[in-house]
Symmetry: C2
Subunit: 191 residues, 2 copies
């Protein structure tokens, strides 16, 4: 797939940038860190940073990418109920739990992504996957419902800034949010 291998210095710099960015994002919150700061911290010129990653959005995506991949693997090929093969309701709940944990653990990065461009949160390739998977599991657990809309609504309820607001400002314990999510995903009465 890679047309040409990367030169040694280029590869070294890519790693340095990724490491520096992850550290700074984690320490100060991704929105508070400028590209120049990252370049400096990585011991690299700003030009290098932008040549490697194109723009700020791409850098942030590159930093989360490995974590996304880990969860994605567990979802696509791990053991049930999170992995494929479990009973629909359990699969749905396990998936929601995993997403909530993921969002909470990576809230700074995700928040930074949410705030780029008009539909950044949903247009994102990773998000598309999460939503599609959520749609599948909802379809299986709740046949007859509007799974596509429901998936988007639930995914929206998992936005990093809401979660962060509820926990930080409203002082809701994460388990309460978890319970609320499960309630929203539960089968409603046929009215």
């Amino acid at each position: 797939m890679p047309g040409k291998p990367e030169r040694a210095d280029a590869a070294r710099n890519r790693q340095a940038i990724l490491a520096a960015a992850a550290a700074l994002f984690d320490r100060d919150g991704a929105e508070a860190v400028s590209m120049s700061e990252i370049a400096t911290a990585a011991g690299v010129g700003k030009g290098t940073l932008f040549r490697r990653f194109g723009d700020r959005t791409a850098l942030i995506e590159a930093v989360i990418e490995p974590r996304v991949t880990a969860l994605r693997d567990a979802v696509e090929a791990g053991p049930p109920p999170l992995g494929p093969g479990g009973p629909p309701a359990a699969a749905l709940h396990a998936y929601l739990d995993a997403l909530l944990d993921f969002v909470w653990a990576n809230r700074t990065l995700i928040r930074a992504l949410e705030h780029r461009g008009p539909h950044a949160y949903y247009a994102n390739a990773a998000s598309r996957f999460w939503i599609d998977e959520l749609t599948r599991r909802l379809t299986a657990a709740r046949p007859g419902d509007d799974a596509e809309y429901l998936a988007h609504a639930l995914f929206t309820a998992l936005r990093a800034d809401v979660i962060d607001y509820l926990v930080t400002v409203r002082e809701m314990p994460p388990d309460r949010i978890r319970a609320g999510l499960h309630g929203l995903a539960a089968v409603p009465p046929d009215d």
Copy 2:
């Protein structure tokens, strides 16, 4: 309440700015309009703009304020089911409908507000009111449930950018979103 009346030129400029800002926000999307553009369009210096409104956030809020007030009045003192006095379930549904219409009609402005600061969407004074009212109506319609969490989840599902994404990109008709919202707000089975 006003300590001193505003000078004539000041009042004229305030109106000019408000009008210019509303027009530009509506035409280009609020995030794409800079403060200087607004000042120029209003035929006013940038200093004047900032002295009147303090900062960008306050300007945007000032532009939506009259629309917020209109809906707020209907909710607090209008005829049922949107106004007070109707049966709980109808009150809840009418309220969700009104919020959805409001968000759709003012999506550009609201989007601009969503993207300011960490918890801008929720910390906002108007939002607090919407959420509190939603909490009340949920409590009335669904006693025993976690109305506070539910209110935040539903309100999040009403964020302008989600709605806009669903309608614009996913091509979901607004009525489908409406139906989905009602489904989420409906009483779930006691499991």
